[in-house]
């Protein structure tokens, strides 16, 4: 398993978004990787990140998704 910055697997809303929001606020630019295992978390994180001007790349990894957020 690759190292990720934020692992939100097994968490339900709003925790995934809250954790990613904190990570994005701490980093402000560069790359943040997020591992999610639910559609809800994936979509909510995508919406949060794009809303804050980050570009989001989603890779499916079995039953999980690796989101790479860059700015």
């Amino acid at each position: 398993m690759r190292e990720v910055d934020v692992d939100v697997c097994g968490l339900v809303c709003p925790e995934p978004v809250l954790l990613v929001k904190k990570a994005l606020e701490a980093k402000t630019q560069g790359t943040v990787t997020v591992l999610a295992d639910s559609e809800a978390a994936r979509e909510n994180i995508k919406r949060l990140a794009t809303g804050k001007g980050w570009t989001v790349k989603v890779e499916e990894q079995g039953e999980q998704w690796l989101l790479t957020l860059t700015k």
Binding site: G10, C13, P14, V17, D37, S38
Partner: protein, 362 residues
């Protein structure tokens, strides 16, 4: 632009729920109820004999439909995941206490919106209470409140809840004599079985795809200024408003509203308690049903907490009636707040945050 993926889908889901609630009401469901997850789970608790309040017993096909519709949608879209192990007992307790709040107000957020759309001003008093409860929940979440991570389980666990609902449907259709059915009162007001089941299937499938929720709209707006789910909530209200106007069920006022009381304080506090509980378990009763159908066994336990809460509410005289909120119910709401606040403080990582702040300052 609206597409049938994001805002478009969640708006469509809200509109559909609002419209179907009015249709179900026109075809026999209780007035200003149409579809109410809390009331219908309470009816199911009665139908199974968990409580003996004769007017509120019926195995509501809408609930079964919602779970089966969401289950099929989750399987087809490959989003079915059997998960569990995130503080199941705590979720049970929060579902239980939240249900007492709902039954003191007389409705879940879905019915609150339907009542609001029919001009019931008592529900407009409950709305700020609900929002205040959600804000209190956010206060805890921002202090690190968490029920912990769920872990992936063997799929068999996730199938149990939908299968239970399937069995319940079979018992209902087969006319199993052990089930109890009201002969008068709200439980006796029933839309035809196939219509109720079909409406439930549609709502369940749409809600699963749209991730529809009625705690989320207010929570996400406060926490993240994110209006996504609010489109669904407003859609539900507007569709029900138009529907009520069409069928002549709009009656503005506090007094003489169907299956409602006028005690503003307890309408406010009941929904505040429920708002707090269901923010901490991450979603309204509809969302819990859908999430349980998607394989989340923690949500299934929350639903069981709601069912047992309904049974206790009626066995111990906690639930309100059009006559008002009984003293036992008022006591239960206060006691509920004490327990939930204790849970909230106990599970918040305030110290961790304090430590981080020290590190930042150093």
């Amino acid at each position: 632009m609206f597409s049938f993926k994001g805002k478009g889908l969640v708006t469509l889901t809200g509109l559909t729920i609002g419209a179907l609630a009015i249709v179900l009401m026109a075809f026999g469901n209780p007035k200003n109820m149409g579809m109410c997850i809390a009331c219908f789970l309470r009816d199911i608790a009665g139908g199974l004999g968990l409580h003996s309040a004769a007017p509120v017993q019926y195995v509501r096909p809408e609930i079964i439909g919602i779970v089966l519709g969401a289950f099929v949608a989750a399987v087809v879209s490959k989003s079915f995941r059997s998960m569990g192990g995130s503080s199941a007992l705590t979720r049970f307790v929060l579902g239980f206490i939240g249900m007492i709040g709902f039954l003191v107000f007389l409705g879940c957020p879905m019915r609150m919106l339907i009542r609001m759309s029919a001009g019931d001003l008592n529900a407009w008093v409950a709305l700020p209470g609900f929002a205040a409860g959600i804000a209190a929940g956010i206060w805890f979440i921002n202090r690190g409140f968490t029920l912990g991570r769920a872990t992936r389980q063997s799929s068999a666990h996730g199938y149990i809840f939908p299968v239970l609902m399937g069995v319940l449907l079979l018992l209902l259709v087969a006319g199993f004599s052990g089930l109890r059915f009201s002969t008068e009162g709200p439980g006796s007001m029933q839309a035809p079985l196939l219509l109720a089941l079909g409406a439930g299937l549609a709502v369940g499938a749409l809600a699963q795809r749209a991730r529809f929720c009625l705690v989320g709209p207010i929570r996400d707006l406060i926490m993240f200024r994110d209006p996504y789910l609010m489109f669904g909530m407003v859609g539900l209200f507007l569709a029900a408003l138009v529907g009520n106007l069409i069928i002549g069920n709009f009656n503005l006022g506090f007094a003489d509203q169907p299956i409602a009381h006028t005690d503003g304080l307890w309408n406010f506090l009941g929904m505040a308690l429920a708002g707090l509980c269901f923010t901490l378990v991450a979603g309204c009763p509809l969302r819990q049903l859908v999430s349980a159908a998607e394989g989340n066994t923690d949500s299934a336990v929350t639903v069981l907490g709601v069912l047992v809460g309904a049974a206790f509410a009626h066995n111990f005289g906690l639930a309100a009636s059009p006559a008002g909120v009984p003293p036992n119910g008022q006591f239960a709401v206060v006691a509920g707040f004490v327990v939930v606040l204790a849970i909230g403080f106990a599970l918040s990582k305030v110290k961790v945050f304090a430590k981080e702040r020290v590190t930042e300052n150093a």
